[in-house]
Symmetry: C2
Subunit: 519 residues, 2 copies
């Protein structure tokens, strides 16, 4: 008989683009989500948790982001039933597509308007990169079925409260708002400027290839171009709005082929931000006031800032800013973005603004795919991992978890005594554990306490047991003394205390309090 | 040109076996997980969050549960790279398999022993049934690398603390412990009883088909049989340990073919529970004392109960119970199970014990698949959804979320005033919202407040605005009055109050406090 082949051992590795989170990384995120949920709830939003798996049919197979139509999902086919092939299922790629499905499925049971929040992992089947993972958290709040801009204003206020709830101080952030309708006004105005649009041969072909009307294709280029303001700068944007642009490699990107007058209008929109919100509104009215939709957009921005001011969310926090272009292609009305204004050092030691941590806006096609009915919606997504990184960069998050008090095992036969000690400490609310490894080598036990970042070790050998005392070692102080052994003032401070067994909890609590570690 | 076919609208439905969770269902589970995490943390366990996706290779393709080898996972193949086929990925089916992968992958960076907790969704590709979903939560704590039964004892204590932390009172639960080693002792003892095991023809064939030694096959039947004690009762188990058993349909199940003396030993083990833990230990020693492994198992049980007593986890909460058989086939040492002892009414109105809500035990092959090295581990899994159901059955959970205070919109042009009111309420920590639907029909606004389960509605029309007052409607009291309109005492109690605008927050807070709804 042939010897059966030995199966090779499996590799102990996460799939590419996935990672594990340990200790404080997990609990800090959990706490942040809980605080944000608290704010969302206070604003009247109800929790919704849908599952990670949806039918591909309900989800739509690809992300809506026009620039990356190939960004995919993780999908698989269910086993076939007796008479029909299995459904295709997929992991959700965001929390908005499931919201659309939920709203269409349960709409008779949901309040109208429906304010809901959702937080949880989403999955993207894309090439992983540095700091770019294929599973990450989203933390969204959306109002479905409210066409009033009061809904948008409310979400901007909520965004401010969320940032403050997680530890971003007032003055360290700003919520910038813009409106797709103003941009539509800009497009109307430039349309009126060029009765007979100048179209290059290339542009005509492209529009035909896309099966779009020429104006639609042109609008697409304008939208994509202004979305690149950050990356290309003003001159780059001007070139792309005009005949086109050569990049560093010499490759030519064809432009929207607008006239100079048209380009001037677009640029004046992007640069319309004044010293105050009122000034910005005046500038915008000047640019798009002739367009009905444009004027409506400016009116909405004015209304939003007025509603927010009434709730004391003033211009120190809410800024109308036409240069907020991200998402203008996707959204249909107001858009908003929270930006942290403080500077941080990036990985390469360069100082830069931290930038955007949340964004959202109004979109009106939420459930249309399912029901044919247009339902207005507006919502925000907070980038929890970005926010954690920001707090970390500001030194407001201690990423090392405080370890447990470690009760060492001097005498294996008296494990019950040591268990009694940890039980007392835990019942007093103190994080504590008995050493559960092989107790033979005492040095290993202290090394373990060090690995665990323990503040205190408890020692009770035979002598102590007989005398009815325990030794309590202040490991934080001990480490400080070890670091600065030359300093006389440290040398004289004892870091180990002998106390009666009955005073164990009190003494440990005292030491924790000295280090600011009490609960 | 042929008219393009209209794409049919997608169905707005969860995939079969998945469901959505709304409002209080979500927040109550989140709160429960947070409380359990608090206890786990206090016991020195560190959080671990791995992703939902693992390689099939790392995960192992199927569940370890011997009785259901076809219980599957959701799996798919990654897109191929240029030169090699894509990896197979899958959704995790529990939190233990990922722990094994994490421990093998990161072992040099982890403390030893490693106490970790994990909570999150897992997925099973099985036929859904009533109340049986293909995504559900697990909430685990495991200690890896500690061979001492002190680790098992600690987890039993922690289980008690978790139950009390989520609202199960002392006296309403018991943690029952048993030990696989005692069962191994039983098997040794019965092996010694039958020098020449009596084997039916069928039994011999089966053992050969399974490619196992006859004794191994026999042990398998004994294990599976005692695991069916709950379902078959003592007589059923006796039959299956002996020649076999005819079920109601007349089908014969072949048995383990043990002699009467052997069966008596197994049954005496299952019925060894005495009035106290000490009595049980004496009974067990009598049955398996002659077997080395059996004696070791009884010693361990004694040690565990001694360690727990030292931490004041006494016999009112910790019960040695040989009839705990679930998992004895899978685990290698101590096993434990938390059972709620109170009675509830089931769906059909029958009274029954609520039963098990958590279980676990010791298993030693955690990372062996990856490293070849045997690492001892012990851990528990708390059934969060079962626990929520238990609290609900006891009336300790209110599943209706308290709705927000609703500020109604009497005058669409004064939205800023209404926004100012909700801002004040929210800043005072009160859940509140302004009505964001079409305000034309005031009745709809009150209906909305009703749908939202709102405790209070705020009304400010033109008259009130001029007078500088607001109307505050106590909706809870209003509903009570409406229900019992014949009672004179109710009739005279007003449920609507006019207060100065400046007293809005104070009055709302007062009403909430009257209904026990203050924060």
């Amino acid at each position: 008989m042939a010897k059966p082949k030995k199966t090779p051992r499996p590799k102990a590795q996460t799939p590419k683009g996935f990672r594990d989170y340990f200790g404080a990384e997990v609990s800090q995120r959990a706490e942040m989500l809980q605080r944000i949920a608290g704010v969302y709830h206070r604003y009247g939003f109800d929790a919704l948790e849908s599952s990670g798996v949806e039918t591909v049919e309900a989800l739509g197979k690809f992300l809506p982001d026009v620039d990356r139509p190939n960004e995919g999902v993780f999908a698989w086919q269910e086993d076939a039933d007796a008479d029909k092939p299995g459904d295709w299922l997929a992991l959700r790629y965001d929390l908005t597509a499931p919201l659309a499905r939920v709203y269409a499925q349960h709409q008779n049971d949901l309040p109208k308007p429906y304010r809901r929040y959702a937080m949880g992992p989403v999955w993207r089947n894309e090439k992983p990169g540095p700091g770019r993972f294929r599973q990450f958290y989203q933390c969204d709040a959306d109002t479905v079925g409210a066409s009033s801009v009061a809904a948008d204003a409310e979400i901007c206020a909520m965004l401010c409260d969320c940032l403050e709830a997680v530890g971003i101080e007032r003055g360290d952030y700003v919520v910038r708002i813009n409106n797709r309708k103003v941009l539509n006004g800009v497009l109307e105005v430039i349309g009126a400027l060029g009765d007979e649009p100048r179209l290059s041969q290339h542009f005509q072909e492209m529009a035909e290839n896309l099966g779009k009307k020429m104006t639609a294709a042109k609008v697409g280029i304008v939208l994509r171009t202004i979305d690149k303001l950050d990356r290309l700068g003003k001159e780059g944007v001007r070139s792309l709005l005009g005949p086109g642009r050569k990049d560093e490699s010499g490759d030519l990107t064809f432009g929207a082929d607008l006239s100079k007058a048209q380009i001037d209008v677009v640029m004046s929109f992007l640069e319309a931000k004044g010293g105050t919100n009122s000034e910005t509104l005046i500038n915008l009215r000047e640019i798009v006031g002739r367009s009905r939709i444009g004027k409506e957009g400016v009116d909405e921005l004015e209304k939003i800032s007025e509603l927010l001011s009434a709730g004391s969310y003033g211009p120190d926090r809410i800024v109308i800013d036409p240069s907020v272009v991200r998402g203008l292609g996707y959204y249909t009305g107001p858009v908003y973005e929270a930006e942290l204004t403080f500077e941080i050092q990036d990985d390469k030691g360069r100082t830069r603004n931290f930038g955007s941590v949340a964004g959202g806006g109004r979109y009106d096609d939420l459930v249309k795919r399912f029901t044919g009915q247009e339902v207005p919606a507006t919502g925000v997504s907070i980038g929890v991992d970005r926010l954690l990184a920001a707090l970390h960069a500001k030194g407001r998050l201690d990423t090392t978890d405080v370890g447990p008090v470690v009760v060492t095992v001097m005498d294996r036969d008296r494990m019950a005594d040591y268990q009694a000690m940890v039980a007392e400490l835990r019942q007093a609310g103190i994080r504590a554990e008995v050493y559960l490894g092989n107790p033979k080598n005492f040095g290993n036990q202290l090394k373990y306490a060090d690995t665990r970042n323990s503040p205190v070790a408890v020692i009770e050998g035979g002598d102590e047991h007989e005398k009815g005392v325990v030794q309590i070692k202040d490991l934080i102080l001990g480490a400080e003394i070890a670091k600065s052994a030359t300093l006389e003032e440290w040398k004289d401070r004892p870091s180990q205390f002998e106390v009666p067994r009955a005073e164990l909890v009190a003494k440990v609590r005292e030491i924790l309090a000295q280090h600011g570690l009490e609960k």
